[in-house]
């Protein structure tokens, strides 16, 4: 556990008995998941295992066929848009930056809609968020089409942080990035988790992210979820988890892992 970062066992967000079905295809079958206050939780699973649907369900974008999602004990469907925006930040896979707005305007959009801050204060705050996300100062006036892949993710992260959410969902934050940029993003996530105390949920394929920075990992296998630390998951006899964690790539990622992380 990281010093000074209180990770309580109390769940900030919990999902109970989630069932998602598309036509005849059952994606999630009575799935349960508790996300603890202040932790970094990785969600992994094979292609088509329903990671994206789970993320949409947890953020309230998708209503499950049955089951409920509770944010701080309240059903997420009952939250007002204002409350939800202040509690949840989402980094979408391709950034989802609004192409007609500059980077700074993208970050300021949620502030404009949900706070009474004067414009100057919004601009100051946007500059801080962009800097927190590691964006160079001159990028604020740029438009999303002028940004590189890594910069798009950072700008989108700054926007996700705009309202100081309590829980941050990251959908494939390191995909399509070179490994150097990807480790930069990983470091950034840890820094934000520690500094802002924000709970982070990462949906990812990136084994380096899973092993390197996640306190716990949720494996989506067979329409259910298994949550544990990487070290305990390695002893799992579930074939898919075993194969994944003992693959050559996993060995490489485990070697690269920094000591002190992932043991929660």
């Amino acid at each position: 556990m990281n010093a000074g970062n209180k990770k309580s066992l109390e769940p900030i967000l919990s999902a109970h008995g989630i069932v998602n079905r598309f036509g005849n295809q059952l994606v999630h079958d009575k799935l349960d998941l508790d996300i603890r206050q202040g932790e970094i939780l990785g969600i992994a699973g094979g292609s088509g295992s329903g990671k994206s649907v789970l993320l949409k369900t947890l953020t309230g974008l998708h209503r499950p066929n049955s089951g409920k999602v509770l944010l701080n004990g309240k059903p997420i469907a009952s939250l007002g848009s204002n409350e939800k925006a202040e509690q949840i930040g989402v980094l979408f896979q391709r950034g989802a930056l609004f192409s007609s707005l500059s980077v700074a305007q993208n970050v300021m959009l949620p502030m404009r809609e949900h706070t009474d801050l004067p414009v100057e204060a919004q601009e100051k705050l946007a500059a801080v968020k962009l800097e927190l996300a590691g964006m160079p100062a001159d990028s604020a006036a740029k438009f999303p089409s002028e940004l590189s892949g890594g910069m798009v993710k950072r700008a989108a992260l700054a926007r996700a942080l705009a309202l100081d959410p309590r829980i941050l969902f990251l959908d494939e934050p390191t995909s399509d990035l070179d490994s150097l940029t990807a480790s930069g993003i990983d470091e950034l996530i840890v820094q934000l988790n520690k500094g802002l105390g924000v709970t982070v949920v990462i949906v990812t394929h990136d084994l380096n992210t899973l092993f390197g920075i996640c306190d716990r990992v949720a494996m989506l296998v067979d329409r259910r979820i298994t949550v544990d630390t990487v070290d305990k998951l390695k002893r799992s006899d579930e074939p898919w988890i075993h194969d994944l964690l003992h693959s050559p790539r996993a060995q490489g990622a485990l070697h690269a892992r920094k000591p002190g992380h992932g043991i929660g």
């Binding site: 000074g4 970062n5 209180k6 109390e10 900030i12 206050q37 202040g38 701080n72 004990g73 409350e83 202040e86 509690q87 192409s99 007609s100 500059s102 700074a104 706070t115 009474d116 801050l117 204060a121 601009e123 100051k124 705050l125 946007a126 500059a127 801080v128 968020k129 962009l130 800097e131 927190l132 100062a137 001159d138 990028s139 604020a140 006036a141 089409s145 942080l161 309202l163 100081d164 309590r166 820094q191 520690k194 500094g195 802002l196 105390g197």
Partner: protein, 373 residues
């Protein structure tokens, strides 16, 4: 935690103390920031050696932390900071906290002149692009014509269904409606002179010579010109066009020519269909308003128009079709990068196609007048 998250976010902030000592109690966040600003503003300017006690501060977010960092910069001593708040403060105070870089503002009149210049430049380039692309597609079209191996009957037939057959209902309805519009205008103007029967001549001549082909061309430009631009544009964004080129397959031969051939075949046919439907509209109108039944109506039409009127209308169709198709494909292939660009190019394709159709229609009118047709 910066903000107590199990309880609903409350923003109750109490500020007390006097002299050089002040204390914050409660939550310092976006909502209570104003309060803190106004309460501490005077204190900041009047006193020296100020101390702000934060022992009872229960919540802090980034705007609050920014405010505390500013206080620190102004030599206020912050005491009693909890470990969690200290981390947030360290993170935020450690940043440069620079001003947001804004694009340089340009004065309105210069902006206006810059726009005119840009517009003229874009117009020049556009004209060049259209001429170049028309040349390229004519070249590809003729080359395919003489090389049967380049014919793509399946693609052409699919495009004929898309651009032609599927457009029949809308074109038919439009033609009937337009003949009503013309007919009623004529009726109102001609009735005072007792010449309301000449409405039939008016409808027949204007539908066959002008309106039939014009309405059809505009409809097809909206339906198919936009579809060409969007289809090719999406292929471009997904790098499918690049994939074709790498495989040694020219997008001109494979994608543009079948579309052009299809639209050049279908637009004259659609025009003829629109002419027929326009006359049907005229027949309905004369039955209802003039009490002339369809057979005598046809007799009147035969007296009013001859083959050259039909010819004048239909002969324009392939030329309109070529420009609609070429402009649509050109804009589709001009898409760069994002999906946003697909929408922009599609709009431009339709606007430009309709513009060209009307320009050429005007030129044809002058030409036919000179030729005396």
């Amino acid at each position: 935690m910066p903000r107590a998250s199990t309880t609903p976010p409350s923003s109750i902030l109490a500020i007390h103390g006097d002299g050089n000592q002040m204390a914050l109690e409660g939550v310092l966040d976006v909502r209570s920031l104003d309060q803190a600003h106004s309460a501490l503003g005077q204190w900041l300017t009047q006193r020296k050696d100020r101390v702000l006690d934060l022992r009872k501060l229960s919540g802090l977010d980034t705007p609050g932390a920014m405010f505390l960092c500013e206080l620190r910069d102004r030599h206020v001593e912050l005491t009693g900071i909890s470990a969690e708040h200290e981390q947030l403060l360290d993170l935020v105070c450690g940043l440069g906290r620079k001003e947001l870089v804004k694009p340089k503002a340009v004065p309105g009149w210069r902006e206006f002149i810059i726009r005119i210049g840009r517009g003229a430049d874009a117009f020049g380039r556009d004209t060049y692009d259209v001429i170049a692309f028309v040349g390229k597609s004519l070249n590809a079209l003729l080359r395919s014509l003489f090389h049967p191996s380049l014919w793509r009957p399946a693609a052409i037939s699919r495009q004929i269904t898309e651009t032609g057959v599927n457009a029949l209902p809308i074109v038919g309805v439009m033609a009937i409606m337009i003949s009503f519009v013309i007919g009623y205008q004529g009726l109102v103007q001609l009735r005072p002179f007792g010449g309301q029967d000449y409405t039939i001549n008016l409808v027949a001549v204007s539908i066959l010579r002008e309106m039939g082909v014009l309405i059809t061309a505009i409809m097809v430009a909206g339906r198919s010109g936009s579809a060409f631009a969007a289809e090719l544009g999406v292929m471009k964004t997904r790098e499918e066009i690049d994939a074709l080129e790498v495989m040694g397959l020219g997008p001109m031969e494979l994608l543009v020519v079948p579309r052009l051939v299809a639209i050049i075949i279908t637009l004259p046919l659609l025009t003829f269909f629109a002419d027929v439907m326009g006359l049907v509209g005229g027949a309905i109108l004369s039955q209802v308003e003039l009490h002339i039944s369809p057979l005598p109506f046809l007799d009147r039409v035969r007296l009013a128009v001859d083959t050259s009127d039909l010819f004048v209308g239909v002969v324009k169709a392939p030329i309109f079709a070529f420009f609609i198709g070429a402009v649509g494909c050109m804009h589709g292939l001009r898409v760069r990068g994002s999906a946003e660009s697909v929408g922009r190019e599609t709009t431009r394709a339709v606007v430009k196609a309709i513009f060209l159709v009307i320009i050429f229609d005007a030129l044809f009118s002058i030409l036919f007048e000179r030729l005396g047709i």
